[in-house]
Symmetry: D2
Subunit: 337 residues, 4 copies
């Protein structure tokens, strides 16, 4: 079977992981090209992963006829443009979240997708491919927990990564756009409903640096959905114990919790700290499998001419909701969608 | 040492438990009198607990000169009046929560307390006497978790008790006054701060009967405190697994969770349901020790002429906050305290 | 109702706890007398607990006509003699485990019990009164786990108490007699069967001091019971995390575990150690309730003329088994009962 | 980079999984040939996995010059012969455990390995490649738990698989050879020591069918190691909750537990069973990653001319120990190695 030839743009932390996964873990694909502005990193990575084509300009990679698809892990601001260029050059597209940093960009991406109905364009909400989240989704859809009452979502980065978070703060769009988007996507996916109003609060509890960007180091938001489901989002940057992504869905007949202990493995340690579990320390560790599975899904959509389960419209809608949360946080008022 | 002679009014479920505790578990006290309008139950209980004095009218018990103190477990609406009568008759008072069902009643109770500065008047927020909550309070006060960011409070009654909850609904004052008051008290206790604004939502997800009282079977509220601490309250009546009272305090340096699994004991069961813990099924089971300890504290305050740690003002303030949450729930608008 | 008047001998750590419990927590009893050779401690304790009679000679207390019953918390070697004297003076007896330090002593106690069939003589295997163990016992007896296959018992003291353990080593009788007797009692209670053979090993892994007494700091024993149930005992003195008493019963239809995490309360802590539970640190903390309940049972047996659930014969049998384990440990050979 | 071309023999449940892993998850290898006596299954699998060469006789596959290596997942009795033939035909070998079903076979395999020092011959003790076990091994080797005192190993198959176990019983070699070998390997790996004596008991608690093979449905064994470490093995076929592989290492400074809850994922369910975790149901689910990683190690050994971490001598030694346990179980006597 002919392998799908993929080019990947962006060699940051996640970009590198995607490149490695394509090169060694996605059996239906091969990593054919890499693109990054950092020539040194580009060369080293290409050598390590035995990639034949390298580009420093995205347009050049997009035009390369040896590629079937492009994986976009560039800076968020470039996502819409890269999606458009790739599609217009006949490539299938997988783009990391967020779809863009403003609605205008998202709409541009939507239009490009609509111009190329035969091309796959999938957005990387990887949590949907995590085995535990998939398990929960299935149970909800089977009616095992009855009607959803509350979706509680925590996304917490460890305090030890705070320097990176502060450095990235000017460009992050704030906690709701940067972190809570995954939770917003999950809440929509689990409830099949959309929010109608939101109230967000929070602040700078440990790191005043975020205030200048009208952001907080820890923020919370309560949302009311059309079907009356409540959703409580909490996003923080000061978790003392690790990378804590925890989700709870309270239904009328059952309650499901994912990763209420963000354990890194199956080891329990009994020492002078008591009985304890060590925790995952970052998203790559926690979602190692999910990052592989979403690309397997992407490749499978191309091969089998299927529509991806996460579309450009999910990207747009999620951004709109995150912007509403941010608006409420900054104004102190209720936001109505 | 002379024992404190206590009369207790109200022989409902909790009233009976208080009576038994005074009779057999509070070594510094003796149960001297009982009062209830139900003469049959009164007689039976008095016999079983070997109580010498019985009354069907509260005023008569309040005037009884063989008593030092009165424990009030009557219907909530009567609390302020009973507090006033007891104090005016020279008795120390322990009153179950809530202090009253409206602010007017609370203020009446406050005035009575102020008229009798030499008398102990303690309000029954028993969670403050639970060993786990005490442990958490100490850690917070010691600065072990840094600055509080979020207090998350769940109070869920089991679905199997829903009939009683529906029958009680007309008089309950709604979920915020009836259930969330304990959580409001905890949040004030832990943070030493007061809420400035709140937004409450929720609805009738399984039991439309609550709607006629402008209440829900599950409700949630996000509050902003003066010191910027966020507080998320969730109160529900449809828990599938048991009586779930769970509290989490996220701080900048540590996170504490109380009863994230509401286990009834230390037994773990491995069977075809997987690996599981059975849960506490009601407040008497969960807070068995706390109900004893709060009365020990009450007796100790009388003997040692101490001020109780939970005062009538806590009762008033908690009610004001619960009313604000209810107001937001009913109006759909932000409530500012 | 007239209270049972109790005299208690021995004011060591556990003796003091028993005395306090009788004085303040056992509503059907009163602490009337205390006996100890340490006059200073005797006087102080009597004052603190408002006890009227004090004795430095056990015989004198046993003859005191103001007492109905005697609680024996003296050194293990004295238990049989104290039981005999108390019974012969017409007192009901509650004796701490072990019944004695050799079979001869146990038989002496048995004979005294048989001379006084109208007197209660109960042995203090308090674990049988712990709520979690009672819950497990009921499930086993109800057939909920089918036929018992394996009983696994851990009894571990924390390393931080090692100095006391070393000091006590010459008189302890070794780990099997001193610690594992509780587990042996549990195994017999749960299985209603008796061991037929045993093989014990272990050694001094951290503290060579125990070797001179032909004991180890950690020991293990596998036993085969008449009904084929397997039993694995592990007793250690170097637990890094706390006082770990853990019991598992594997049956053909279900598995029960008691205290697989020896958590001190319901608090979960998330900090740089991960997600953790702090642990109980000693037997008084872990079995606080059980120590009260066993004395309630004792008083209840006296008042209601019932036979106690734990008899002198349980004491003898348990010692015989512990001696068999010790014999195997010291000889390296299989021991057949 | 040229891929290692692998032929695999045996298409049972695990054989199929190995074949799939080689075909799609081991990036440095390709599945070039398959061998099985069942022609239908052989043909179907070869088509599904796009394998070019198929064989019904092992000798033919071993001679095939298009192969670099052979993975042996045939019946245990054939392992030594297949290892010998493969090596003698110049192929690298990965053989599933056990190395053989008797010591004679193991020695034959050892001799073949010694004839071909340039060839890799690795034995499939996959647990050593599980992330949690690797984590534990590292902690032990770093001295984080001090000196090992006790290694406790449970290997339990779910009751629902009992029919297969009974059917396989005549050929299994008994529980110690069939199930406990993995635990024996772990105990040797963790302690770097060897057993000196063992006593095994157990029986048929639910399924008398095993008795005719002088086996039990649940068995236990206590072993003493040269360095005094104790080891308790428990192997059962009637687990009510799932596939339970649990390992605990108690050291003088810390205690490590692997999979004390054999959870299938990170989901916690709160329903009328309480708070529960569903469990893994078989070895393929529990050790999914380990099966991939061991083959990655195998391929890596071939490519980099390294010695595998699990050798034929581990296979022989493990069998000797398992046979000693079985001997003790059948004789009722202590076994000395």
């Amino acid at each position: 079977m002919k392998k799908i030839r993929i080019g990947s743009v962006g060699l940051g932390r996640l970009g590198l992981q995607h490149a490695k996964n394509i090169a060694s873990k996605i059996s239906g694909a091969e990593l054919t090209a890499l693109c990054d502005v950092d020539e040194k990193k580009l060369k080293e990575t290409a050598e390590a992963l035995r990639v034949s084509h390298t580009f420093t300009r995205f347009e050049d990679m997009a035009r390369c006829s040896d590629l079937d698809a492009i994986v976009i892990v560039s800076s968020s601001a470039f996502h819409p443009e890269h999606i458009e260029i790739a599609l217009d050059n006949g490539k299938h597209v997988f783009s990391e979240k967020p779809l863009g940093i403003n609605i205008e960009g998202c709409k541009r991406a939507e239009k490009a997708v609509e111009r190329h109905p035969d091309k796959v364009c999938m957005i990387g909400f990887m949590r949907r491919f995590d085995p535990s989240y998939l398990y929960v989704k299935e149970k909800i859809d089977n009616g095992e927990i009855g009607r959803p009452i509350l979706v509680r979502c925590y996304s917490q980065d460890p305090e030890k990564c705070i320097d990176g978070a502060i450095a990235f703060a000017p460009d992050s769009g704030g906690q709701f756009l940067d972190m809570a988007v995954h939770d917003i996507d999950l809440a929509r996916w689990f409830t099949k409903s959309e929010p109608v109003s939101a109230w967000a609060i929070g602040g700078c509890y440990a790191h005043p640096e975020f205030a200048q960007y009208r952001d907080g180091d820890n923020v919370g938001c309560l949302l009311k959905f059309q079907n009356d489901t409540m959703c409580f989002l909490f996003a923080g940057r000061t978790a003392p114990h690790g990378y804590n992504v925890e989700t709870e869905i309270i239904g009328t007949k059952g309650i499901l919790r994912v990763a209420s202990v963000p354990q890194k493995n199956l080891v329990e340690i009994l020492d002078n700290g008591g009985v304890r579990r060590e925790c995952s320390q970052n998203f790559l560790e926690r979602f190692e499998n999910a990052y592989v599975r979403e690309l397997e899904e992407f490749v499978s959509c191309i091969v089998e001419h299927k529509k991806p389960s996460v579309t450009v419209y999910d990207g747009t809608r999620t951004l709109e909701i995150a912007e509403g949360c941010r608006n409420s946080f900054q104004s102190g008022e209720l936001y109505r969608f």
